[in-house]
């Protein structure tokens, strides 16, 4: 059977790092995948070395919009690890609140887009509607819908005002019943079961070999979560569960994210209600020479920052490792062997930058265009409706 190559990308709205996927297909089956990145390379590591430790947080924030807290969180911890110092209790709680708010909106966003790919636009609209409430909460607490600018080495920049808390709690509570309803609707939908179970499976061994992170690894049964393994922030003072499932298929990745939503809501509410008093900032004056490492469990997995200081007010070296960097190669294990119709959702399941599908084009070996990007999305949706018909739902 002739092999053809499908190029996905590089431009798609919504992704952190525009990537370019090349799927080699044989008929309907994907036999190989090649990922290339670099469409989003802005030299952040170099830029961060031009700025002072304090200013660098803003550069770091703009690595990724959805994880705009995760990177500063890891970075500030790395800087604090150089000295080393512990930030004040109140600052820890505020950091935790912002980080969990981000996790909630990121997971909701993922659900919305996954629904979009599968042809469930209702899910898309509902999830993004819920997400608006969380973004409102973030605007109330931090002053912006995204890019919160709350973190600084040694504490946080802004305090959470006590008068804002009741409104924030009210907004968080208002999404709970809808999330509940959606959870039930998603978990007992036979079509989704048929569509997602058993595809894109990442086994436990593969997850360990590829050093997969975050929900991608937890869905494969690897209990790996920095918040539990090496507690930081306020996470060791709270009561919450790590969600781990066994199968590693797309369904499990979705379930992990769905259940994590509840944990995050729980953590966020608890922190808001039990915010300790005191200082919010240590007012660090100088950073001694040395090196430090910080890690934070971002919605997509662990972010890892290594900062070297040479005693000046600028980082001498700053290495950033985003979770997707480790999760993307797992596609090599999950995508080959699946059908093209499933490829979109498997790519999406690691929560990379999945709007790839908007600009996909399938080419045969001689470069002739066979399918457009919409076509691939259509294939994915057709499969859903086919299953729906088979199950007699429509």
């Amino acid at each position: 059977m002739p092999k053809s190559v499908i190029s996905i990308g590089p431009y798609h709205p919504l992704q952190e790092e525009p990537e370019h996927f090349q799927l080699t297909v044989e008929g309907e089956k994907v036999v190989d995948i090649e990922v290339s990145v670099g469409y989003n390379h802005r030299g952040i590591e170099k830029l961060s070395e031009r700025r002072s430790f304090d200013q660098a947080t803003f550069v770091i924030e703009r690595i990724c919009g959805i994880c705009s807290t995760s990177h500063p969180f890891a970075y500030t911890q790395a800087v604090e690890d150089i000295i080393p110092v512990e930030v004040p209790e109140r600052a820890k709680y505020i950091r935790t609140i912002i980080a969990e708010g981000e996790r909630i909106h990121s997971h909701l966003l993922w659900f919305g887009l996954a629904g979009h790919f599968l042809g469930y636009n209702t899910v898309y609209m509902w999830m993004w509607r819920l997400r608006e409430e969380i973004l409102d909460v973030m605007e109330i607490l931090s002053g912006n819908r995204q890019n919160y600018a709350m973190f600084k080495p040694g504490g946080v920049r802004r305090d959470i005002k006590p008068e804002d808390i009741p409104l924030a709690i009210k907004k968080i509570d208002s999404i709970l019943p809808t999330v509940d309803r959606l959870k039930k609707a998603i978990l007992d939908d036979p079509v989704l079961h048929a569509r997602l179970k058993g595809i894109g499976t990442l086994t436990k061994e593969e997850a360990i070999a590829y050093c997969a992170l975050g929900p991608t690894s937890r869905a494969s049964g690897v209990a790996r979560d920095v918040r539990k393994d090496a507690p930081y922030g306020a996470y060791d003072r709270l009561d919450w569960n790590m969600i781990v499932t066994a199968n590693g298929d797309v369904w499990d990745k979705a379930v992990v994210r769905l259940l994590e939503l509840y944990e995050s809501i729980k953590i966020m509410k608890h922190c808001l209600l039990n915010l300790p008093g005191g200082e919010i900032d240590l007012n660090l004056k100088s950073i001694p020479p040395g090196e430090g490492i910080g890690a934070h469990e971002a919605p997509r997995g662990e972010t890892f920052h290594y900062v070297r200081s040479d005693g000046t007010n600028r980082p001498a070296r700053h290495k950033v490792r985003a979770p997707t960097f480790m999760n993307l190669p797992t596609l090599k294990a999950t995508v080959p062997g699946s059908s093209i119709a499933d490829a979109a959702i498997i790519l999406a399941a690691i929560d990379p930058c999945y709007c790839c599908t908007e600009r996909m084009a399938v080419r045969s070996a001689d470069g002739r265009k066979l399918y457009s990007g919409e076509e691939l999305l259509r294939l994915s949706r057709e499969k859903t409706s086919r299953i729906q018909k088979e199950l007699g739902k429509r």
């Binding site: 080393p84 001498a316 190669p329």
Partner: protein
């Protein structure tokens, strides 16, 4: 295995290739190695201790090119960083990609941004930079200078 056992085992097994052993804190250990010993030590950590490979970070430290390989032993909440110092004129180190799959990409990235050669890594194609980027110009090196005469470094109006 406790933290002390793990560390003393590394020290006794690889004592002759360890140049510096810096026990920074309860959670962080930095080990400086001779470059030739990188692969066996990394394999020991990864395969036998079950440590997770985080990332490698290359750095130009004026006198050397340093590469740090960060591993974490999750059960002990311990981060072990292996440091190798490479000669600036011929930065060359053995590739970890065959031992640890996850190291393949970061080696590509370091090769591209810092110009470090990884012997044994077959796939050192460009990962991030564009095709027009001149060969031999490494942006993360300290002596990097703007090479593009068309670049605009003010607001551009």
């Amino acid at each position: 295995m406790t933290r002390e056992e793990v560390l003393s085992e590394i020290q006794s097994r690889f004592g002759d290739v360890i140049l510096d052993f810096f026990d920074k804190s309860a959670k962080r250990v930095y080990i400086e190695l001779q470059p030739r010993a990188l692969v066996p030590v990394a394999r020991h950590l990864f395969a036998e201790l079950g440590a997770r490979f985080h990332i490698a970070s290359g750095m130009d430290s004026r006198t050397h090119l340093e590469v740090l390989y960060h591993f974490s032993v999750e059960a002990l909440n311990l981060l072990v960083s292996l440091r190798v110092k490479l000669d600036k004129n011929d930065p060359r180190v053995d590739s970890l990609a065959s031992t640890i799959k996850a190291a393949a990409w970061i080696e590509r990235e370091m090769h591209e941004l810092l110009g470090i050669q990884f012997s044994g890594n077959q796939d050192l194609r460009r990962l991030l930079l564009s095709e027009e980027w001149p060969a031999g110009v490494y942006p993360l090196r300290r002596d990097y200078r703007e090479w593009d005469p068309g670049a605009v470094r003010d607001r551009g109006v």
